[in-house]
Every structure is written in C-alpha cells, then in structure tokens.
Symmetry: C2
Subunit: 241 residues, 2 copies
C-alpha cells in the first residue's frame, strides 16, 4: 500500500509550492494563536471566526461580537482581548461565537482557506496527541502550515510540525519527501524532552518575554492539555469531534 | 564590546530580508557548486566566472572559455563539464579561467553580488575550517546564504551554514538573532558526527544517488580538505588568501 505524505511548510510565503496537493492542512501558530483557539474550544466556545485584518475585526465588533485582536504580541487598542490563551478560559465565553485576528496565525488560516483541501484543522502542542490520532485515522496526505513570524521561519511552529510528521511516520503509513520536513522532524526530536529549554533563545520567546508573557509561553509549550480539533467550515472554526 | 552577528538564510528567496545588513556574505551550495569551486581553486584554477544562465555560459563558450554547466544534477548538453568536483581536479585546468553555471549555486552568487557587501566568499564543508578562521579574523557581520534547491530549503547547505554560525558563536565574539540560524546550528550539532548518515534521507542526496553521484556526495561531505577561500571580485571568483 502506498504511503501517505506528511510535509512541513515553514512559512505561509512558501505555501504555493504545497497548495492543492494535500487533503488536510494543519495550521500551526504555537505562540499563540492556534494554542489560544484550542484553549477557547476547550473552554466551551461555540465557534471562532478567524479574520486576517483589523478592519474585518472592527466590522464584527460593530455587530456586537466578542473580538480578539493581536499585533506584534500585544492586544490591539479597542479590542476585548488579544491572543493569550488565558483570555479564552473565561466563563462568559462559553457557548459564544468569538472573532480573532492575529499577526500570523489568522493570516495562515486565510491562506489555507484558499486551497482546495478537504479539511483545514488547527494544530498546536496543547492538542497534539488527539490531532495526531485523528490524522492517522483519516489516512490522507497532510501538510503542516507553520504560521512563522511575518513570513519568517520560527522554531516553535516548526517543532510542532516536526512532532506531527514524526508521529505519523512512526506508524509506517506516512512518509516525508521534503528536506524541510526532515529538518522539522530532527528539530522536534532534539527538543521534545524540553521544549522550554530548547526554545529559550528563540526570537518569539524573547519577544513575548519582553511583554511579560512567560505564563502564556509555558501554557503553549505544555503538550496534550485538550483533545479538541477545531476545523474550518464556511469561514468558521468549529468542533466536529 | 558589541558582538558581531552571524545569520543563516535558508534560500535565495528569503535573502531580501538579509540584504545590505552584513559586511560578508558566504554563499553555500554543498551539493555541489561551491564544493566544486573550492576543489577547482585547490587544483590551481586561476579564476571561476559564475554565470546564472545557460545563454551567458554559451556566450563564454563561443569565446573559447572552458565552461561547466549543470541543471537538475546533470551536465547540460554541449558543455565541457557540470558541477562534479572531480571535473575540476584535472591537470589541464591549472592556471585556467573557468566559467560555471549551475541550478542553484551560481544563481545564489548572482543574488549576493547585487548587495553592497564588502566580501562575497564561497563556503562549503571542504573549506570549512579555513573559512571559519578567516571570518573570525575579519570580525564583521556575516550572513550565510544557502543556495537551497530551486528556492526550497535544503539540509546540507543549512548544516554548513549552521556549522559556520556555531563555530563563530563559540568564540564569544558573534551571536545570532534569527530562529533560522538557531535551527541551522541545532541541525549542525545533530549531524556533525556523521553528515553522510544524517543526510541519507535528504532530497538532494536521493536525487544525486539516482544519478550515480555517490562519490561526489562523499567528497562534498568530507570537511576541511582545502584552505582556499574563493572571493568574488568584479564578477570573478579569485583567491585572495
């Protein structure tokens, strides 16, 4: 039986090469958008509407939605919250529809949405195991789209993509062809005993540390805290599992 | 004293971000262009003229130059040789000017030439130690420009860039800021005991193996065989050391 493919795309800028060759796209923005989205669903949020621009976010706000907006690690002025996972754990969000716009993550979701993939799902370390189990069950070609930082490679998304690739390949039913995926797998293998230590010098961790977001980082790097698998359907992230 | 910067740029496509912020650009195409160039100088070639297109290569051929041209791992029909390092070890090349056009490496050199760097030098594993020593001596900001494969990340160039970054940082006089450079350093550290084994699944090694170029690969992955440091000057690579 022919093996399915799993690849890791380092940044949205490189996604053209991968577009339309994979049935499943996993969008990853470990620090912090996709971790926050998983945290929101874990808290019982009904749906998350990802929007790429601040203007779109403002439109939703006018209509009375709860709206999160983050740029460069900080909450955009005038919005209810940013992309700290802790913002999404509040009681008042249960059962609600929430709108979210972030520097990198929601842009990556938008780029994924322009492909013809069957499934666009949200990946992070906090839902890693359940996501991997679901991907194995699906048995389809998978590309992990790392959000990066403003079209630049970042370590934490790559490690998460590498973790997914490594776990899928370990089943014997998947393989990778691209050097980027092989590198991601190696980086995951080097880091998995201690993500926090491995990422200590990463640019985004330094950036968030300056903003006193160390608690957020610890939360986002702590794997397997939830089994939600948010999926994009008609422009909204919802739970299907 | 402020530390100098050393960064690794994964592909020419990403070079815009790095352009004009570094005094020294090291162009790397381990399999095989920059290894072949070092091998040529080690054999006493007088200069190598890198050209990006086959048309330019043909122009030089008409003028009577010895011209190497490679595309997709193979010698382009009608040319004297491709980019196998062994082609450049021949007696008749000593003292000659040689023209070279390759899929990725000479394109990366051309892109580097469009910056305002003070020095554009040729890096490979075969001249690694002497290059690192020279870079330490210069004490300037360095970017390693990996040629990649058709604008895609490749492992062997990244590992070579990571080796340079790792060695410079080890002196305490250099530092890296970018996640790409940190990843390259980690990949080098994981691979340095056995490049050949580490790269066994890399896409380019598979590509060259199909073309029966295993001897070339072994040569290119065997570090510190020469102390040449080819530099670009007025469109020609020459030895200044």
């Amino acid at each position: 039986m022919e093996k399915k493919i799993v690849e890791v795309c380092f940044t949205p800028k490189e996604f053209d090469y991968f577009r339309d060759r994979f049935e499943i796209i996993v969008v990853i923005d470990v620090l912090r958008a996709t971790s926050a989205i998983c945290s929101a669903f874990n808290n019982g949020v009904k749906s998350v509407i990802p929007v790429a621009t601040i203007e779109q976010a403002q439109e939703y706000q006018k209509q009375g939605y709860l709206v999160g907006a983050e740029r460069n690690g900080e909450i955009v002025e005038g919005f209810d919250f940013g992309n700290s996972p802790y913002s999404y754990m509040k009681e008042e969000l249960k059962g609600q529809e929430v709108v979210l716009s972030t520097t990198n993550g929601t842009r990556a979701i938008e780029i994924a949405a322009q492909s013809n993939a069957e499934h666009i799902v949200i990946g992070s370390l906090i839902n890693l195991k359940s996501l991997v189990d679901w991907l194995i069950e699906q048995n389809k070609n998978v590309v992990c789209l790392c959000s990066g930082w403003k079209d630049k490679f970042n370590l934490e998304d790559t490690i998460c993509g590498g973790a997914i690739a490594d776990e899928l390949i370990a089943t014997g039913k998947f393989t990778s062809n691209e050097d980027a995926s092989i590198a991601a797998k190696y980086l995951y293998q080097s880091s998995k005993e201690n993500y926090f230590g491995f990422l200590k010098s990463s640019s985004h961790r330094r950036r968030l540390k300056r903003l006193n977001l160390n608690e957020d980082i610890k939360y986002c790097l702590n794997p397997n805290q939830t089994d939600v698998i948010p999926q994009l359907e008609n422009g909204k992230l919802i739970l299907k599992n």
